[in-house]
């Protein structure tokens, strides 16, 4: 390569000056034949069960072909939005309670029935919190194909060593805190509990157990200036301060799940979806177990579940609705339960899921359903979730006072909610 001349330098510099381009490219025509349904999902682990269920739907409906499209979660929502703008949205797609409202509010989805008439599509067979989460302005857009709750996972070996009674359904916050202190063994590098800044599987649960809230029920106001909310966060951060929880930095670097898996953590709040991962760890298979979370002022667990929703642009609306209901229905529930990855949404089908890991009290996850709270959300949830990620870690790491951090967070979140109300 010769010494670059001035021209070459100029040319290369010009080529490298990139302004990230935003223009979306609309492709052509959706799907192939008139009887093909495109179904989009993101979880590799659930893919085999989904294929199996789709095959059964095909055999029950001759001439129908289901084409499954697996899109990695990182691009899932951007891709769906772009496809919707370009008119190439799939017929049926997985939705999460967090994003469902965005698609519903912008009129991208086809209702399955009116919300009042939801019983006609079998809504009574699903966790009520999640049926409600897929309703929007008097219409029912989806039913949960699965759901998750959070449990108190613990390591019996560490409990035995410290001589502490195993946790059970009678536990309250103070039992949790006292046990965490006793279980902490600085020399062995063992902590009692992970006060993690993780929304669904930690601080959201504490907030609702303390009768606080993240977002007001009308979804117009932040709950971070609510004293109960602040109190719950303080309870957690105090566990870091007194040493019974690993520090923020330790949790960020290693993750509470891996600390638990390596026997460095006696108790942790983790979702039902962690079951297959923990089952692969010999230590936990032998010494691990799970029970319901400790009771605060009241009982609560954050729940989330995926829904099957139909896009407005489908060419076969009736068939697509039938398929969406089938993929949330009883038979699909049974197939999912056998696969053992998620708890199926259809009542009664979870039995096979419980049987996948008989060594643990998995029933605890199902016992929590009556007081489950849907994952806090609004139309544009990601906007204020970003605020949480900006302000809360400062409090968790001790760089900022809890009161100041939550006040700043409440202001930023309220601003986002006002903006949301303006644009929607």
């Amino acid at each position: 390569m010769p010494i670059p001349r001035r021209r070459t330098v100029l040319g290369a510099a010009a080529a490298a000056l990139a302004a990230p381009a935003l223009a979306a490219c609309g492709g052509e025509g959706a799907g192939g034949g008139s009887k093909t349904l495109r179904y989009t999902l993101w979880d590799q682990n659930q893919y085999p069960a989904m294929i199996k269920a789709a095959k059964e739907f095909e055999s029950q409906n001759p001439g129908v072909h289901i084409s499954l499209e697996l899109v990695p979660y990182g691009q899932y929502w951007t891709k769906l939005q772009t496809a919707a703008i370009g008119g190439t949205a799939p017929d049926v797609a997985w939705m999460s309670t967090l994003t469902f409202q965005l698609f519903a509010a912008y009129d991208q989805l086809l209702p399955l029935s009116t919300a009042a008439n939801a019983a006609s599509i079998g809504a009574a067979n699903y966790p009520p919190a999640l049926v409600e989460a897929y309703a929007w302005k008097g219409q029912q857009y989806g039913l949960p194909k699965d759901y998750d709750t959070i449990g108190l996972w613990y390591n019996k070996q560490l409990f035995d060593k410290a001589g502490v009674r195993y946790p059970d359904a009678t536990w309250t916050w103070s039992d949790l805190r006292d046990a965490a202190r006793k279980l902490t063994d600085k020399k062995a590098g063992v902590h009692g509990f992970a006060a993690e800044m993780s929304n669904q599987s930690c601080y959201y649960d504490f907030i609702y157990q303390n009768d606080g809230f993240v977002i007001s029920p009308d979804r117009k106001r932040s709950g971070y200036d609510n004293p109960r909310t602040v109190e719950a966060i303080t309870f957690l951060i105090d566990m870091i301060k007194d040493g019974s929880s690993p520090s923020m930095a330790e949790i960020v670097d290693s993750g509470s799940a891996s600390l638990f898996q390596s026997g460095k953590l006696a108790m942790t709040y983790q979702g039902s979806w962690m079951t297959p991962q923990f089952a692969a760890v010999p230590l936990l298979k032998k010494y691990g177990d799970v029970t319901v979370m400790a009771k605060g002022r009241k009982r609560a667990t954050i729940t989330n579940g995926l829904g099957n929703c139909v896009f407005r642009t489908t060419r076969n609306p009736e068939l697509a609705k039938k398929f969406a209901l089938f993929m949330s229905g009883k038979r699909t529930g049974e197939i999912q339960a056998e696969a053992g990855v998620v708890i199926p949404g259809y009542r009664g089908t979870e039995k096979a899921w419980l049987a996948t890991n008989k060594q643990w009290q998995l029933q605890s996850f199902i016992d929590e359903v009556p007081y489950a709270v849907p994952f806090p959300h609004s139309i544009n949830s990601t906007a204020w979730q970003d605020d949480e990620q900006t302000y809360l870690p400062q409090a968790w790491a001790g760089y900022d006072d809890i009161g100041d951090a939550t006040r700043k967070l409440a202001d930023a979140m309220n601003l986002d909610l006002r903006r949301e109300a303006r644009t929607a």
Partner: protein, 310 residues
């Protein structure tokens, strides 16, 4: 036909034009594929992005004219200022990689060095490794409790930080990885530049009794200065656009160091694709483009003082 009826100077001129015209036509034909690609996939989207930045763009399209609102908000947004500062700091730190690459290239260019290709491959490997892999590996190496970096520091009695979750060290750690990852590319360019320096100049310098350090500063450096300039321009542009490294190294659930490391492109991604405010994202993208143009223009101005073209 016209040649027969009008055999004067005019025809000659027309024929000359014809040849020139045909040549021009060939020229246009040959650059057409590139120009077309550049126009469709580059210039047009840039124009569209500019247009979008003056509108509001809903999550599912639908433009509404906003005028300068997005830009007004841009100057009020604290996160924008902080991110610009982070990007600037990152760029300054990454520039340190240039002298390092130049010195290494000089060593790799030694005639007497054994296993030259081995070292070159070693330095070039990170360049051909996927950025994701680089980021993931370094995340493990820099882990505060179990990372190799802190383990080695512990051996010599230094208690290492939680590099990636401490706001004071996170950006430095990322910049170090950024330098490491781009070293190979810069070395290749410098080696190429060094090899085109004529041998007789070195011989003449040696005859005049110049030592290796003098030779480096008086002969090598001026002659490779165009390469240094080229590398500097590209490094600044790339550094101002840093995103993947930060995104991948910082994206754990909640990291207190995020505000101290979030680059302007990261903020763009967050606003446009996570918070669904595409038009505000477009305004950020445009601000960045203007900053890059200014930085590059300044560099071109300054080069007259230190870059020697043969």
């Amino acid at each position: 036909m016209s040649t027969e009826t009008n055999p004067t100077g005019g025809t000659k001129r027309r024929r000359r034009l014809g040849i020139r015209g045909r040549e021009a036509l060939w020229g246009y034909g040959l650059i057409a594929p590139t120009a077309l690609g550049l126009g469709v996939f580059y210039v047009w989207p840039v124009i569209q992005t500019l247009y979008v930045s003056f509108n509001s763009w809903g999550p599912f399209g639908g433009l509404k004219w906003l005028g300068l609102d997005n830009y007004r908000e841009l100057f009020k947004d604290e996160a924008v200022g902080r991110s610009l500062l982070n990007s600037a700091l990152y760029t300054l730190m990454v520039l340190i990689g240039i002298p390092v690459a130049l010195v290494l290239a000089n060593l790799l260019n030694r005639r007497l060095l054994r296993g030259k290709s081995f070292y070159r491959v070693l330095y070039f490997l990170p360049v051909v490794t996927m950025p994701t892999a680089v980021a993931m590996i370094w995340r493990w190496l820099l882990n505060g409790d179990f990372g190799l970096v802190n383990y080695l520091l512990g051996k010599v009695g230094i208690h290492g930080a939680n590099w990636l979750s401490d706001p004071n060290t996170a950006l430095i750690a990322i910049a170090a990885v950024g330098i490491w990852a781009s070293l190979g590319y810069n070395i290749i360019l410098f080696v190429a530049g060094l090899q085109s320096v004529p041998d007789q100049l070195y011989e003449a310098a040696e005859l005049d009794g110049a030592g290796p350090v003098t030779v480096f500063f008086k002969v090598t450096l001026p002659l490779v200065s165009p390469t240094v300039f080229f590398v500097a321009v590209i490094t600044v542009i790339n550094a101002l656009q840093v995103f993947d490294l930060i995104y991948l190294m910082m994206s754990t659930s909640a990291n207190p160091a995020l505000p101290a490391t979030r680059s302007i492109v990261y903020l763009f991604y967050q606003r446009a694709f996570m918070e669904n405010d595409r038009s505000y994202g477009a305004a950020i993208a445009f601000l960045l483009m203007i900053i890059i143009v200014i930085c590059t223009a300044v560099q071109f101005r300054l080069q007259k003082r230190w870059v020697h073209y043969e």
